[in-house]
């Protein structure tokens, strides 16, 4: 995935460590939300549990989109990046009110890694191939 701009992503040595953290955290979060929806006592089959299944799935879709669409227009990358950021935050908040602590933790980890990946520029030497 990821940075909001696609420029330099390859040069930075994709996939970078932060990308992996985001990807793993979101995949785990998705699994967690699916398990919650079917099995979590108290919230199983609720609209809220379904909502976070969908929201984590959307994050996954966004990550895959970033990964495979090399020629993504900048404006689209910005819009998708902002929406993904909001999705991280919204899912974490929803997880908080569902009292799904693991989901909140995973979203926070993914969010921090996402922000790190998006806004911390790679050092110049990392661009040298």
């Amino acid at each position: 995935m990821t940075a909001i701009t696609s420029q330099g992503r390859r040069n930075a040595g994709w996939p970078r460590f932060g990308d992996w953290v985001v990807a793993v955290a979101v995949v785990l979060a998705f699994v967690e939300t699916v398990l919650n929806y079917f099995f979590s006592f108290g919230i199983a089959y609720s609209a809220g549990a379904l909502l976070v299944v969908i929201s984590t799935l959307l994050i996954l879709v966004a990550l895959v989109t970033f990964r495979i669409w090399d020629s993504m227009p900048r404006w689209f990358a910005v819009v998708l990046g902002v929406l993904t950021l909001l999705d991280f935050v919204g899912t974490a908040i929803a997880g908080y009110f569902l009292e799904a602590d693991l989901l909140v933790l995973l979203m926070l980890i993914a969010l921090v890694a996402w922000l790190f990946t998006a806004f911390v520029r790679p050092r110049p030497m990392e661009r040298i191939e």
Partner: protein, 639 residues
């Protein structure tokens, strides 16, 4: 010491087997409220604030007796508020389908079941309700002889079943082949049959049987009555009528539909008496009815009234006295004690009275209240207003919730502006009146729990705002045209046939279903009853919507009650979030919680068996508040 022992033996001789039960050193839970004093207190101290976090499910039973009421051809929704009994080394519990389960207390294995086989068609309540069992045993049970120990179950069709506690077989010497039908005594204004929701109270060799009905349907209804019958034969010993007989052509009810309390030491039976009919208009019942909406002390041998304290005068809010008073002894500063009781109420007021005389221990003022009633009625100029302990609910409308108001485009504030709100005891009106607290409480039928070693009293209470609206008979009939209005209780319409008005009640929600008033919606409070002071008050429970839990500070509406253990723990279900909790009695902090299948609207029972302490919850739900029902009986213990 010798004096105390002599007094104890004398009490045994005078009072018989029920006193023997009350003085039992075992950690039984032998009445709905734990014991005859209704303090909901257990001497068990194995589970402590330090180790309660280790509680695990010890066993679980699903009775199969559950209905959500959605199948038009099936039974109505179940409403299971039955606190199990632990006595005779057995756990007994009844179900909303009117069956009895006898269960091994340490394994959950079912020893026997008894099926009353009554039709699952509720004649009065709109739901299949059950609030548990009663237990009696002979002073000296004869081994091998049946029905020396009896479990009683009251049913929705007004019958009391007596079943041998060891075998589960009917006690045929009781009533007719083990069944006593109290509707044989329903002879005055018998517009509807009597239903038994709450198990009878047992003391000495008598059962005290109260009942429920449909007090929203008619102006003239069966007058409230309490039946005292022989525990072994079901023979009627005496009957108390709570309405003066000359008022029978005008009114009715003031029945006893919840549990009762016994002071074995002073031979007194305390009964909470409900409001007269019709519930929300009193124009035809202006004559004094001193027992209506009262707590009343009786001589259990004769049924004679010893004293009565009316907690609402001329009740037009359906503020039934709805819970058994809790007995305790106030320890005064000079070292003396005063025998007392505390009566909780739907209004959130807590009345502390001398239980021998009915006189207030903490001052109760007669305060002027709003007088603007509809034509034909006349409000009481004053109402009793305890100065201490502090009420569980505030005196005024809690204010419009900005969140609910904004999200509904101002619906809440617009609606409120059109309603009458003069604070507590605002009478029902044609324009619609704010009722806060409303008929759902305040404190509901579970009442509070008391630690007799410290006189700490803990009680859960709801903060619910409802809108009371009277409709002229013509308007009512227009709205309910084509309906069976005599039985109608749908969509909040109460017929009150025979009165010049019908009635509509609704909870003050915005169109999204959010409460229009500020939280909290429910609290748990603790009081020092020696001083009457509030020790702590915390929002209790959580509102859950679409799976999301709302902030703890909101609390939740509760039905059910707490229990207290000697080790300083409160155990309580009650909340609509389907959780059961253990709370530190000193601080009010939640120390442990577990998810269950539905709201546990029965208070738990605490018992010790083979050296191990168990806390058991009947988890059944109450579909009036939350469309979630279950049939789960779950016991927790330390590993």
């Amino acid at each position: 010491m010798i004096v105390a022992r002599t007094a104890f033996l004398l009490a045994l001789v005078v009072a018989g087997p029920a006193v023997a039960q009350d003085a039992s050193p075992t950690q039984d839970w032998y009445t709905f409220n734990g014991d005859l004093k209704a303090d909901k207190y257990s001497n068990a101290d194995q589970i402590t604030p330090q180790n309660v976090g280790q509680l695990r499910t010890a066993w679980e039973v699903h009775t199969g007796d559950v209905s959500d009421g959605k199948n038009p051809n099936g039974p109505k929704a179940s409403d299971w508020g039955a606190t199990p009994l632990f006595v005779n080394n057995t756990l007994y519990v009844s179900t909303p389908f009117d069956r009895i389960f006898a269960i091994e207390p340490d394994t959950g294995k079912v020893r026997w079941t008894f099926d009353t086989k009554i039709k699952l068609v509720d004649p009065t309540q709109g739901e299949l309700k059950n609030r548990g069992l009663s237990y009696w045993q002979a002073a000296s049970p004869v081994a091998g002889q049946a029905c020396q120990k009896i479990v009683y179950l009251g049913t929705m069709d007004g019958k009391v079943f007596a079943v041998d506690a060891d075998s589960g077989q009917p006690c045929t010497s009781f009533g007719q082949n083990g069944i006593l039908d109290i509707n044989q005594w329903n002879t005055v204004n018998n517009k509807w049959p009597l239903s038994i929701l709450q198990s009878p109270t047992v003391y000495k060799n008598q059962l005290f049987i109260g009942w429920s009905g449909q007090d929203w349907t008619q102006a003239v209804q069966p007058p409230g009555s309490l039946f005292a019958v022989d525990a072994q034969t079901g023979k009627l010993n005496w009957k108390l009528d709570t309405i003066p007989p000359d008022l029978d052509p005008k009114t009715g009810t003031s029945n006893v539909w919840s549990s009762m309390t016994v002071d074995a030491e002073n031979n007194l039976l305390f009964i909470p008496i409900s409001s007269p009919s019709p519930d929300y208009y009193g124009g035809d019942r202006q004559a004094p009815m001193p027992l209506s909406t009262s707590v009343t002390a009786l001589n259990p041998d004769t049924g004679k009234v010893v004293w009565s304290y009316q907690i609402v005068h001329h009740d037009i809010w359906d503020y039934d006295t709805n819970a058994a008073p809790v007995l305790f002894d106030v320890k005064q500063a000079d070292g003396t004690t005063v025998p007392a009781l505390i009566q909780s109420s739907k209004m959130g007021f807590l009345f502390v009275l001398n239980r021998l005389t009915g006189k207030p221990i903490f001052p109760i003022e007669e305060k002027p209240v709003p007088q603007d009633v509809v034509d034909g009625d006349k409000a009481s100029p004053t109402q009793p207003w305890p100065t201490m302990p502090e009420a569980t609910t505030q005196d005024k409308f809690p204010g419009i919730s900005k969140l609910a108001d904004v999200l509904s485009g101002g619906y809440c504030s617009r609606t409120y502006a059109g309603l009458k709100d003069e604070g507590r005891f605002t009478p029902p009106s044609l324009q619609g009146s704010i009722a806060f607290p409303a008929t759902v409480g305040g404190v509901e039928w579970g009442g509070g729990a008391l630690d007799p070693t410290t006189n700490t009293y803990v009680v859960n209470s709801s903060d619910v705002v409802q809108i009371y609206k009277l409709l002229t008979r013509a308007d009512y009939d227009k709205v309910n045209a084509g309906e069976n209005i005599g039985q109608k209780n749908a969509n909040g319409y109460f017929a009150m046939l025979g009165a010049p008005y019908g009635f509509h009640i609704e909870t003050f929600l915005n169109p999204m279903g959010m409460p229009c008033w500020n939280p909290p919606y429910g609290t748990l409070s603790s009081y020092d009853l020696n001083t009457g002071k509030l020790l702590w008050k915390e929002p209790f429970g959580e509102v859950q919507k679409w799976g999301f839990y709302m902030p703890n500070s909101w609390g939740a509406v509760t039905i059910g009650a707490p229990v207290i253990t000697k080790s300083g723990l409160i155990f309580i279900g009650a909340s609509m979030d389907s959780r059961v909790r253990a709370i530190d009695v000193k601080s009010g902090n939640v120390l442990w919680k577990a998810q269950v299948d539905a709201p546990a609207v029965a208070m738990p029972a605490v018992y010790t068996y083979k050296g191990k302490e168990y806390v058991v919850f009947a988890v059944g739900g109450n579909s009036i508040l939350e469309p979630k029902v279950a049939d789960q009986l779950v016991a927790y213990a330390l590993p």
